[in-house]
Every structure is written in structure tokens, then in C-alpha cells.
Amino acid sequence: MTAVEVTDLHVWRGQAHILHGVTLTVPEHGVTALLGRNGVGKTTTLLAMMGLLPGQGSIRFGDTELLGTPTHLVARQGIGYVPEDREIFSTLTVAENLRLAERPGVEHRYDLVYDLFPVLKERLRQSAGTLSGGQQQMLSLARSILNPNRLLLIDEPTKGLAPIVIEHVVEALVHATSDTTVLLVEQNLWVASQLAKHAVVLDHGTVTYAGEMRTLADDPALAGRHLGVEVR
């Protein structure tokens, strides 16, 4: 069963042609890692899915064509987005950040959020801009799991975090993503291999590998060819 089907996706950022006909599928239930070197178009793919960038081609989510759909309607399909730079609202409190994320008509899983990220419960009235990097990341993740989303698009959740915090985030992610579909962009291959079952590799705007994460992780030569680094 496929959650997302991307067909021949072309995306431009300004004059630059970033995605040159990306075709990939994201299997339902489970984590798919979207890998690749810097600048190959991983974030661009997520942005196009969220409707934050226009593109040509097709992105099907169940019965719905996402390409051309306004962002807020994409989100209301049950898609949660965790951007690369967290993008929490710094002038709002933690509680307000979460409240804003509440979508009407669905349950709001505050228990789950506080369970996974107890530090947020402690700091509900704190201005989100004064949180540490790790705490902001947790808030960003919390927003995406507050509603029972059918798909989570997560962009480099461990970027710039200390190792201890990374462990906590990975732990939380394992729990949070157990009942939904996730497309995870990660540069940290250890994190990716902990979380993901499937892997898709992008290089220069096209897909160069699509298969099991395990296979990529177990074969250093394969990983080296596609990613330029070893999976440790």
C-alpha cells in the first residue's frame, strides 16, 4: 500500500531547476528515509509536497492530487510538516504554538505529546523563542503529532543538536511514528538507519536508489557510491 506516489516531479527555485523528474513512492506505515548530499533537492521535495513550492508532475496522496493544492488544505488532508529550521513561532508561548496546531474536527493528543516531550508540559507558558534548540525541535515535532496525521514530512530533526538530545529525539520519533507514515529527510545516517525501513536516495534532482534502508546500511560500497559516505 502506498501512501504517497510522486511521478515525474519537476520543481524550480527561482531560475534553478532543482528536481528533474523525481519519481518515488512512500509505502504506507513506516518510515522512508529521503537521503542525499547537500543541495540535491530533499527539502525541495518536501516543500513541493506541502504546496509551499509550485511544481510540475504529480504528487498523489491517496485520492488527492497535492500539486496545486493550497498549503493549508494540504495540511488538512492529515499531513504534518516539521521543517528544517523548526520554524516555531518565537513570539508565541509553547502552549500557543500547540494550540495553533490544533486542527478542527480531530482529536488533539496532548497526552501523547506530554508523554513524549515532558519538558514542553513544564514550559507551557514560556515564550517559544527562549527555548533551547533541542526544546524547539521537540515543540516542532509535537505540533506535527498533536493531530493524528496520516503522513508526517520531517526535515532533518536532529540538525544542530547535541548527541544526548539526538537520542531523545530519536526515541520520541520511534514512538510517534509507529502508527503513521513518515517521509524523513536526514543527513545523519545513523539516525536514518535507526528509524527507517525504506530509503530513497536523491542525486542532482533525480532518484538514484530506492529500496530497503538495511541494504544501504549493510553495503558500504553501495552507500559510498550513492551518498559519498559510509553508514556507520
Binding site: 498549503t71 493549508h72 495540511a75 520554524e87 518565537s90 494550540r99 496546531a101
Partner: protein
């Protein structure tokens, strides 16, 4: 000492007017990145609405009549704001330059329209008698009208903050001012808030116009436009999108203007304000409480 108190209260009254005009501008720019150069027309329209109410219902006693006038002014401003956003601005979604140009044309046409209808001579507005009287405060004789304007402005400030902090719409506006894309990514229809913000701006400007008719002893079509310059300066100094910043900046600008005009030389007050703007821009371009511009 008594003149200092008088100048200070007068300055605070003027600050109230600036705040009413500038807060809407600030929110509109903060949320929509639209420089609404027609905002002065909302101010003038509110002023004329108030004048008309005071003029037409002269059998009603002055105080409730004035209250009605202020309400009418706010209503006219709000409706004007909503119509402008829905009917015009929204069609140019995505092109900020064209939206600004539209507001320039609109401001021009609206002022000329009022000029065509009401002539450019200032119209004196009927006022409750006690506006013209004074109250003793710390040894100085303060005109009641100034105190009233200040009081109304403070009430509107509190109401605005309550709206922004206490309602979901307010939450959406505050989030949208900081990062509209992320708000959309959370499923929020930010565009719907655009109309609300424009209407809100119109409401505040309209009320400002009614009070402006009191402060400046009359309403004329270009009154809003001349005050708009100062309102923009207040917005920039206070920080685009920040209501508390606008309040602080309004006080700063108005007091500077009044003090310099009275303690240094008449006419230099406005120039002092311009210097203040230049200094703030060079030292802290994002304004006192604003976010750093992307």
C-alpha cells in the same frame, strides 16, 4: 511645571491618535506585507462619519451622540477596510508592489472623492460642551478633549491586545505576522485573516478619525494623509507587526513632536521626528520591538 504637564498630556493625546492610525498599519504590513497608503482615507472617512452623525442627530444629547459618532466612525472604517481587502487587494495576491500601488491610487481617489463631496474646507464637528472645558491636573489646566482621546486610545489598545492574545483569530494573526507559510503548513487559512486585519485596521483608523476631528478642530479630506506620514514613522520606529512597539513608538514620536515644538521652536517638532526616524533606522532598522526583516 504646569506647562510641562499640559504639553505631556497633549502629547499623550496625540500619541493616542498616532497609535490608532499606526496599529492597523503595522498589523496590515506585518501580516500581509502590504504598505497601505490608503489608510489615511479610512481615517478621514471615519472623521466624516462622526461629523455626519453629530450634525444629523442634533436632537440627541451631545454625549450619547458622540458615542454613536465614534461607533459609526469605527463601523465605516471597518467596512471600508473589509471591502478594500476583499474587493481589491485580494486580486493582487502575490505582488506586493502592485498592492502598494493600488493603495496609492485608492488613497488618491478616496481623498478626492471626499473632497468632491464635502469640499476641502475643514468641517467643524459638533462636540459635547465639556470637551472644550478643562480639568485641573497637577496644577495644570488640561483640555478635556485631550484626556478623552487618550482614554479612548488606551481602551482600544487594551481591547486590541485582548483580541490578539485571547482569541484564536488573534493567535492566527500573531503567528501569521511572524511566519505565514508555517501557519499555513499547520492548516491555518491565513488569507481569511487578511480581511479581518484590514477591517481591524479600518476600524481603528476610523475611530482615530472621529477623535482627530476633535483634536484638530475639524475634519478635512486630507487630514488622514497628513497624519499618515507620522503614523508610518511610528510604525517603522515601533517595529512592523508589533502592537506594543507601536504604542511605545507613538508616545515617543508624539512627545518628541510636542516638546520640540514648544520648548525649542514651532515647526521644528516634525523635523525632530524625522531625525528620530533616521536615527532609529540607522541604529536598529527593525524598529524597537519588530522582528528582523527577511
Amino acid at each position: 511645571m504646569s506647562s510641562f504637564v499640559l504639553y505631556t498630556v497633549t502629547g499623550l493625546g496625540l500619541a493616542g491618535l498616532y497609535f490608532l492610525l499606526a496599529s492597523g498599519l503595522s498589523l496590515i504590513f506585518g501580516l500581509m506585507s502590504v504598505l497601505n497608503l490608503a489608510h489615511g482615507a479610512f481615517f478621514a472617512a471615519g472623521g466624516y462619519a462622526a461629523w455626519w452623525v453629530m450634525d444629523s442627530f442634533d436632537t440627541v444629547p451631545a454625549e450619547p451622540r458622540f458615542l454613536l459618532a465614534v461607533v459609526a466612525a469605527g463601523a465605516v472604517g471597518a467596512v471600508a477596510g473589509a471591502l478594500v481587502e476583499r474587493g481589491l487587494i485580494r486580486r493582487l495576491y502575490g505582488s506586493h508592489v502592485r498592492q502598494i500601488l493600488l493603495t496609492i491610487g485608492l488613497g488618491m481617489a478616496a481623498v478626492a472623492l471626499m473632497g468632491g463631496w464635502f469640499t476641502y474646507n475643514p468641517r467643524l464637528m459638533d462636540q459635547p460642551a465639556w470637551f472644550g472645558a478643562t480639568t485641573q491636573l497637577v496644577g495644570a489646566n488640561i483640555p478635556n478633549s485631550r484626556l478623552l482621546i487618550l482614554a479612548v486610545a488606551i481602551v482600544m489598545l487594551v481591547a486590541l491586545m485582548a483580541f490578539l492574545r485571547g482569541t484564536r483569530h488573534g493567535l492566527i494573526i500573531r503567528a501569521g505576522v511572524e511566519n505565514p507559510s508555517m501557519a499555513r503548513a499547520l492548516g491555518v487559512d491565513v488569507a481569511r485573516s487578511f480581511t479581518i486585519v484590514f477591517a481591524l485596521g479600518g476600524l481603528l483608523a476610523g475611530i482615530g478619525g472621529a477623535l482627530g476631528a476633535v483634536y484638530f478642530n475639524g475634519i478635512s479630506p486630507s487630514l488622514g494623509t497628513t497624519q499618515l506620514i507620522f503614523a508610518f514613522i511610528v510604525v517603522v520606529i515601533g517595529g512592523l507587526g508589533s502592537v506594543p512597539g507601536t504604542a511605545v513608538a507613538a508616545v515617543l514620536v508624539a512627545l518628541t513632536q510636542i516638546y520640540v515644538n514648544n520648548y525649542v521652536a514651532t515647526g521644528l517638532g516634525s523635523i525632530a521626528v524625522v531625525v528620530l526616524l533616521a536615527v532609529v533606522l540607522l541604529v536598529r532598522p527593525q524598529g524597537l520591538l519588530g522582528k528582523v526583516q527577511p
